[in-house]
Symmetry: C2
Subunit: 286 residues, 2 copies
Amino acid sequence: MTATSDEAGRPTQVTFGIRLRERVSQRGPLCVGIDPHPSLLEAWGLADDARGLDAFASTVIEALAGQVAVLKPQSAFFERHGSSGITVLERTAAAARAGGALVLLDAKRGDIGSTMAAYADYLDPGHPLAVDAMTVSPYLGFGSLAPAVSAAKAYGGGLFVLARTSNPEGGEVQLAGSSTGSSVAQQVIDAVGALNADSRPDGSVGVVIGATLQRLDVDISMLGGPVLCPGLGAQGGDPVHLRRLFGGYEGVLLPSSSREILRHGPDLDALRSAAAAMAEALGPIV
Amino acid sequence: MTATSDEAGRPTQVTFGIRLRERVSQRGPLCVGIDPHPSLLEAWGLADDARGLDAFASTVIEALAGQVAVLKPQSAFFERHGSSGITVLERTAAAARAGGALVLLDAKRGDIGSTMAAYADYLDPGHPLAVDAMTVSPYLGFGSLAPAVSAAKAYGGGLFVLARTSNPEGGEVQLAGSSTGSSVAQQVIDAVGALNADSRPDGSVGVVIGATLQRLDVDISMLGGPVLCPGLGAQGGDPVHLRRLFGGYEGVLLPSSSREILRHGPDLDALRSAAAAMAEALGPIV
């Protein structure tokens, strides 16, 4: 973990929010998903097994860990291959961090109490699958994520809480209204904003908001932390649309793309060029 | 997977809903959680590592796989130990099924599209961590779970969708109201009910409703499938309270207990007696 020292010379952690801001300043705001979908493995001429997975992930790391701010492995595609898939995921995360990228584990975990705390152990630098940040899901109520918030604080890690996604059925839950009148998604955003009160706009707890929403139906002005925006390169998820949705937001916007980049592999230069072109197109949004 | 044949002699799967009903008829309605929490490992004199995890899980399997209807490993406590933890989880699930229990993976996964499909591969008998059923989370909208519903149908597996949990903050999301007036939890229950229309009351898609809710603030009369009720043995989660909450429901009620049983280990007979006593106390609720 990155460390510095406080006024008394004791080592202190640089928070995830600060590290993310630094990395994005240096490398641009692009997050690239590592999604070894069976069809992508096939397109790259790889077998749909742990060995194919390893070749796929190693190539993405070699191409991009030194270039993009954040790499986001999708846990589901590694879990498909059981413990051997998780072994590959462990190597992937370690190699990505060693190469200079921050690693955001896309796992959407959500539980209560000691179970939630166990999931949040991914933020512990001593975990075999240690990562810088992870996505979490608030279906059990935002308060149920408290053990993960504590872990993020203790380890200098980050969280991205699902708030408002752009899949067509997302609104059923996310736009339902609470007794206070605001939507579930807005409640999540407000709760995250309260956590970031002392560290805005570079708080370490962020939210997930889809890049392809037609319009932003939540208010993020008081969020105080990063926004992961998946769907870049998909229908409607382009830099112009992102500016329209999020223009003026002072926190870090982290647009994420997976297949739009990955389809250029396994050629290393083609992967790098695709990521560079997208990062450049994104430049002005942050 | 259990298989039989249809009228034309072709092999067909027995659905999860039917298998669950059979198992519960034979063994009583108890589900025992396999939650190797660090404090439980310590209480059993085991190290908090993959070897301790393996000893813990093997003991629970040896004691209970031949006795209880369902064993429910909590993924988080295995994930804590990385790929070696998942190796133990794979062995645990296989041994539990070989011993005659149904295995419900408590993982609360939720995503969209091909990512959700990848998580649902746990229901594929060919997966290294093949299970009979898994818990899923609908924060991205019930429709986002469609790939898991398809997988459950294809493989004869089961799903338990988070609906109404009894942790204090659960209502923030689950009791929020949709534009049609019903709560998020009720919408989930109604959607599950529609899926089970042709197989009620033994549908293969169930829901999770906390055993310790003060009162049942949703209507499950049209659910048509099983209800997993975690929290048995915890404050208020006793058979009398369960009868009050769910009395008269025609589907399978599956109360679940973890520490209330596990604290009797590692002695095999003590574990068996604790589970038998609880199953007997539950007897009349189904």
